[in-house]
Symmetry: C2
Subunit: 199 residues, 2 copies
Amino acid sequence: MSFPPLLEDLIRSLKVLPGVGAKSAQRMAFSLLEGDRLGGQKLAKTLAKAVDGIQHCTSCRNYTQSELCDICANPRRELNGEICVVATPSDVAAIEQTGHFQGRYFVLMGLLSPLDGIGPDELGLDRLANLMATTEVKELILATNPTVEGEATAHYIAEIAQQHNVRVSRIAQGVPVGGELEMVDGKTLGHAFSGRKTL
Amino acid sequence: MSFPPLLEDLIRSLKVLPGVGAKSAQRMAFSLLEGDRLGGQKLAKTLAKAVDGIQHCTSCRNYTQSELCDICANPRRELNGEICVVATPSDVAAIEQTGHFQGRYFVLMGLLSPLDGIGPDELGLDRLANLMATTEVKELILATNPTVEGEATAHYIAEIAQQHNVRVSRIAQGVPVGGELEMVDGKTLGHAFSGRKTL
Ligand SMILES: [Zn+2]
Ligand SMILES: [Zn+2]
């Protein structure tokens, strides 16, 4: 014997969360049962709804509850002509907070990583190529993390853009080398945008 | 703009988990949406069921899905006559794994901590007193953590037991002082049981 089956189930299920091992899953389960059953019920409901209702924007791949995200659905964003390529939805949120960028985004939902089986297909690069072929793209701004994978992904995408005769730029190395984009303060990110270089 | 409302809800709800701040809630939400939506659905379901279906045993206060936990429902456990008092359900699980103890438990679900508003009522000590008054208790073994709160709680309960003319013992200091009971290996816990002293 250890715990009742429902509690064992709960502890096992909590381990799907990143960074949560057996001990912390147990601590979480106890805390949900002791401190805050209402919070636990709310978490169960929002989780079911989110897993069910959140999808990827058919244009930019960012999270959305409808077919197009708010940014892609905004005609002024398309008129701007710039597309900023980022790795994750958090990067979009971070860049939006700077207010420095008025164009659309393309969210890779990852970075090239052949050893992990993440190639151009997984990043939706065919869809990005399609965007360049079918809408007017004045400039593609590559805002992937300044890490090894981020640089490799940026170079790979730069070549696709050049094939489509689309101007490509890389955000300036105002962002600390080796760092993560979403950890950078708004001012630095703003500088990185202003100082971007044509590739 | 940052994230779609359902995603904002999910991130906010995840923060009810202990040790989960804004950044890790976000990382958890992304991981649930990216990696493992099935795991996310399962977590939502088991969480709802657990919050709904897990209660405290009316006799020992341990977690259970029925009125009595499996241990309290076992007549051989009551016949044994010993009651081991512990702070948490994990302590029960840890002691059960040693196989050293054949009696019943009483789970305090905490330790005396006046500054946090945890007094005798919160630990169900009236119910423990009632157990000693109404069932045959040969010995009360105090197996709270060897910490300041654990010792204070043990002494408080020892006095109640003496009022009921019930023999009380404290597990030996084979358990490392200042440590947490659930982290102790089975052998050490076993020694601590064998070497217990009558108070
Ligand atoms: Zn979009
Ligand atoms: Zn019980």
